[in-house]
Symmetry: C2
Subunit: 326 residues, 2 copies
């Protein structure tokens, strides 16, 4: 067994521990609530934030129970935001199952999200460094703030690519950034290493959101396990749309804007999928891939190990996923 | 100036500090979000949880900046739950102003509540004792859990008075309990004192919710500054309703149940207001007043001071408010 395969085995053991602690979280609630929380946590998520936290820990020292806690907390916050997102998007499917809102209504979903959030911050008081729980709370605040800015700017045709980047960094990059950063902070890594890993997380997380946004246009619903095409219907202008608008001549641009504002999401999606008008989907894919390259560049600061190599490979895997959408 | 007037002055100075720190919280957010947060926090709330935290601090030692932090955090959590409540209740008015949901819609309200919650838990990482932030996170979880149970049991005619008590203790009592408890914990008060103050907070908070529930039936909308009569319309069976159902003969009970399930909230409210069928409103008021008496009994464990006397007076004030609803 090569060194990378050994790392993969060790990481899997830790991810199993994360999974089992996630499952236990439901039991922290009143029996009347346990079922909802267990359902929300039980979807087949990719557990990417836990993976980044664990790999960052391994890349900077031992993987400890504090890393498992970190991974669980970040996933709880992530699931809380998904539950709330699904209310706002009126989504029906998520992670291969019916959404909490579709199953029990919006009222319960607001509260289940709040419960998950409270439990995350409850667990985060177990760290003996306030720095760690503070960084987590700030990341949670950034996620919500990014979502608010995104909501404000629905159907806003003046949204620039830089605005999009800010939104995506806040709503998705920040939890990946704090996963990578705190994985290293727990191991008391030096400042430069912590900074590099934080940047790695921010860039990989942002690239992942770009992938997710492209998927909403180019993906296959039955494979992905969630409702697609919701972004444009809800007025969220994602990178492929912005690339289309930027590349289009004035008259075409005017027509696209009318389609967006007029709620013709399907026509727009068809346009974007068929590579009309300057291959905007490819341009968005490329932007995501460039970010991954930058993220991988940050790893040069780490001492070489199976874990730093795995962080690199995580980028490669995401790059391939993006490639399939071109 | 007598000793109680002196305490009142000192408390006001601390409450002003709380108010000014609450106002500052909005500035912690991205400028795009600041306005919503400032609006949500700017309503004319009674700041009861901050008051209990400050008085509990004064009753057990010096009132420190940690007490101000505690007060601010608990008010942020409370406002977060109000913003989310108002979505679920489709309320239009709160604290004398248009609700966040009525002004900016449900999507933004979900997120603004989340932001307030995240900021509360961000501030709570400033305590140097994990015990304090843990108790706050657990109280926040109890509040959300209580709301879930309440939501589950809307229009549930099998809801008992003991179920109601559990819900109200969780959704309202818990934040008052933690305010009083931690006010003493910050001053390193002995275990018996901490326990007595926690019980005081739980009972006063529960009585306050009973008052609020009675107000929804017997209050005056223009005086209260929020939409009344929402509980029954939303299927929330509060104490006066439960008292009515318990006291009614079988045939009458059947008719009341049909009114509730049939959505005849106004007819039910008229019944409750006019003291038909066994004065259920008076019975609920009396239950609240008994709880206040129990809460005041807990104060016997404290050394006598202007602050413990003020905690006692807070109970007296609430008892008078209840009396006006008979």
């Amino acid at each position: 067994m090569g060194p990378l395969a050994q790392v993969a085995d060790t990481v899997q053991v830790h991810l199993d521990a994360v999974e089992s602690r996630i499952t236990q979280q439901a039991a922290a609630f009143d029996p009347a609530i346990e079922g909802y929380v267990a359902y929300a946590l039980g979807g087949k998520g990719k557990r990417l934030r836990p993976l980044v936290a664990i790999l960052s820990g391994g890349a900077t020292g031992p993987i400890t129970s504090a890393h498992i806690d970190l991974a669980v907390i970040l996933e709880l916050i992530h699931v809380a935001t998904l539950v709330h997102d699904d209310i706002m998007d009126e989504a029906e499917r998520r992670r291969g199952q019916t959404t909490v809102n579709a199953r029990w209504g919006n009222t319960l979903s607001v509260l289940v999200g709040d419960c998950l959030f409270a439990q995350a911050l409850n667990l985060s008081t177990n760290f003996n460094k306030a720095e760690i729980s503070r960084a987590i709370a700030q990341a949670a605040r950034d996620v919500c703030s990014g979502e608010i800015i995104q909501t404000q700017r629905r159907f806003d045709l003046h949204l620039g690519i830089d605005d999009y980047q800010q939104i995506v960094e806040m709503k998705t990059g920040s939890l990946f950034a704090v996963a990578a950063e705190l994985g290293a902070v727990i191991n008391e890594a030096d400042t430069a290493t912590v900074r590099s890993l934080k940047n790695y997380g921010l860039k990989v997380g942002t690239a992942y959101q770009i992938y997710d946004d492209c998927l909403d246009i180019a993906g296959n619903e039955s494979v992905i396990g969630k409702t697609l095409g919701t972004d444009l219907r809800k007025g969220k202008l994602t990178l492929p749309v912005l690339m289309l608008l930027r590349a289009a001549p004035a008259a075409e641009r005017e027509r696209y804007c009318q389609l967006i504002v007029g709620g013709k999401a399907e026509e727009m999606t068809d346009l974007l999928r068929t590579d009309a008008a300057g291959a905007p989907l490819s341009a968005a894919v490329e932007a995501g891939q460039n970010l991954i390259e930058e993220a991988q560049g940050e790893l040069a600061a780490l001492s070489a190990s199976g874990y730093s190599e795995s962080l690199h490979q995580l980028g490669d895997g995401l790059r391939e996923l993006l490639d399939q959408l071109r």
